[in-house]
């Protein structure tokens, strides 16, 4: 298929970017979206132009590296997938596809479609862990009984890959689905409860400090999340913070 691409080009973090039109032809519907981007970049390199910079790593939907806001949606028009899992069969011959970086004041553009998501790392550093001694005397995991229900919910929350689609899609650029997932994953397990109060207070404080917005419960994040993280995790984070504050 032949496509017109409208892509955000920005030389570096200080440059003023703009949308630039490109044409690509003979794109197979079996290609992934990133393979289509590779074709475009091969073409640009052959023409002596600067290729489009974009984030990618595992290309199998588990690393959380790829991003892109495609036709007005984080990770494009499909559901439960990352951009690398988006297939060109979702588009039609002759389509115009708009490709932008994830937008948020806390996610500054580094170059073209590459954004700096290290704000998420700093939130994790503020409390997204448990303090345990791992020097050879770790307990057997099965020694601590955990209900199936709690284990399942904790595991669901832990599937968050920190890609930032929740922030990118949120009209308020709120990071609460991400932080909610990280808080939930520990709050549901006995190992996480020891530091629960400090964790939620520190992570929320860091989230606010990074300049993310305030959740208004539109639910857009849950729909666009490639891992289907539930809004229930945000409610749990709210409960955890109230509990920690009283």
């Amino acid at each position: 298929m032949n496509l017109t691409l409208k892509i955000w080009r920005q030389k570096d973090s200080n440059a003023k970017g703009q949308m630039v039109d490109y044409k690509v032809s003979d794109i197979s519907e079996h290609m992934s979206f990133l393979e289509m981007m590779d074709v475009l970049n091969e073409q640009l390199i052959a023409q002596g132009e600067e290729p489009v910079a974009f984030d990618h790593d595992c290309r199998e939907g588990i690393c959380g590296m790829c991003s892109m806001y495609i036709n007005g949606e984080a990770h494009g028009p499909d559901r439960g997938i990352t951009t690398c899992q988006l297939h060109m069969r979702m588009f039609k011959d002759g389509d115009t596809i708009t490709i932008e970086p994830f937008r948020a004041a806390a996610f500054p553009v580094i170059k073209d479609l590459v954004v700096d998501r290290s704000a998420f790392d700093r939130i994790q550093h503020a409390g997204g862990y448990i303090s345990v001694n791992t020097s050879g005397n770790t307990q057997d995991a099965n020694a601590t009984p955990i209900s199936k229900h709690d284990a399942d919910e904790a595991m669901d929350a832990a599937t968050c890959i920190g890609c930032g689609a929740c922030v990118a899609t949120c009209k308020n650029s709120s990071a609460m689905l991400f932080v909610g997932a990280k808080v939930s994953q520990y709050a549901l397990l006995p190992q996480g409860q020891v530091e629960a109060a400090d964790r939620v207070q520190n992570m929320v404080a860091q989230m606010d400090l990074e300049g993310f917005g305030n959740c208004t419960n539109t639910g857009a994040c849950e729909v666009e999340c490639p891992k289907g993280i539930s809004l229930d995790t945000i409610a749990r984070m709210n409960r955890e913070l109230m509990k920690a504050s009283i």
Binding site: E224, N238, L241
Partner: protein
């Protein structure tokens, strides 16, 4: 606890708590106004009670005014903070793909309701406060009869005012369509995401504004009594 209400989540909780109070207030306001359709006498009696009872006037009324002003100012602050968090706007953004119109436009439906409240205060509240506390007439009487029902009916003569009220109530309905269940989520309850409360929320956001619309239209179309 002091820092809690300064955090993003604390602000959400405060928004939700004021919303719960306002949603409860709307229910009782509708119930009393409905009396005006069925029994002018009962409406007069209850209006006089609400207008002269010290508990209502000097405890509940200030709380209500505080809740309205707080909900508005905090909503506005949050909107400004959220706009600041946005960064560069998208060239193309498909909001309808993942969220409802009502949920994305709370600030606009809220501003319409706020404009309505200003009109509503000029229509009813300021004259009422003037009569009772400036003029000092606490009798509730005019020409020997209770004045409340007549004052109400008189206001709904104007088709422009009735039209403005109807538009405002429709926007109120949209505000509530998202706000009702959203408030539960903000205080950490997942109940707002379950079928029961979603149904109740939907019913509430239709019945309450529709009730007010029916009252306004009823008095507009039956101006003679």
């Amino acid at each position: 606890m002091g820092g809690f209400f300064k955090s993003s989540i604390g602000r959400k909780v405060a928004m939700a708590l004021s919303a719960f109070f306002l949603m409860f207030f709307l229910l009782q306001h509708l119930a009393i106004n409905m009396l005006s359709v069925f029994s002018p006498d009962a409406f007069n009696e209850v209006s006089h009670f609400m207008g002269t009872n010290p508990l209502v006037q000097f405890a509940l009324q200030p709380v209500l005014i505080f809740a309205v002003v707080f909900h508005f100012i905090m909503g506005f602050i949050l909107e400004l903070k959220n706009k600041k968090a946005n960064g560069v706007s998208y060239a193309r953004n498909n909001g309808a793909a993942n969220s409802s119109w009502a949920s994305r436009n709370m600030i606009y439906s809220g501003l319409v309701v706020l404009a309505f409240i200003v009109l509503h205060f000029i229509d009813f509240w300021i004259p009422e406060i003037n009569t009772k506390y400036i003029v000092g007439d606490m009798s509730g009487l005019h020409d020997g009869e209770f004045r409340y029902f007549h004052e109400l009916v008189e206001k709904f003569h104007s088709p422009v005012r009735v039209g403005a009220y109807v538009v405002a109530f429709i926007l109120l309905g949209l505000h509530l369509a998202h706000g009702f269940t959203s408030a539960f989520q903000s205080v950490g309850s997942t109940a707002g995401r379950k079928k029961t409360l979603q149904t109740i929320g939907k019913a509430y956001s239709i019945i309450v504004p529709l009730g007010f619309i029916i009252i306004a239209l009823y008095h507009h179309l039956n101006p003679h009594h």
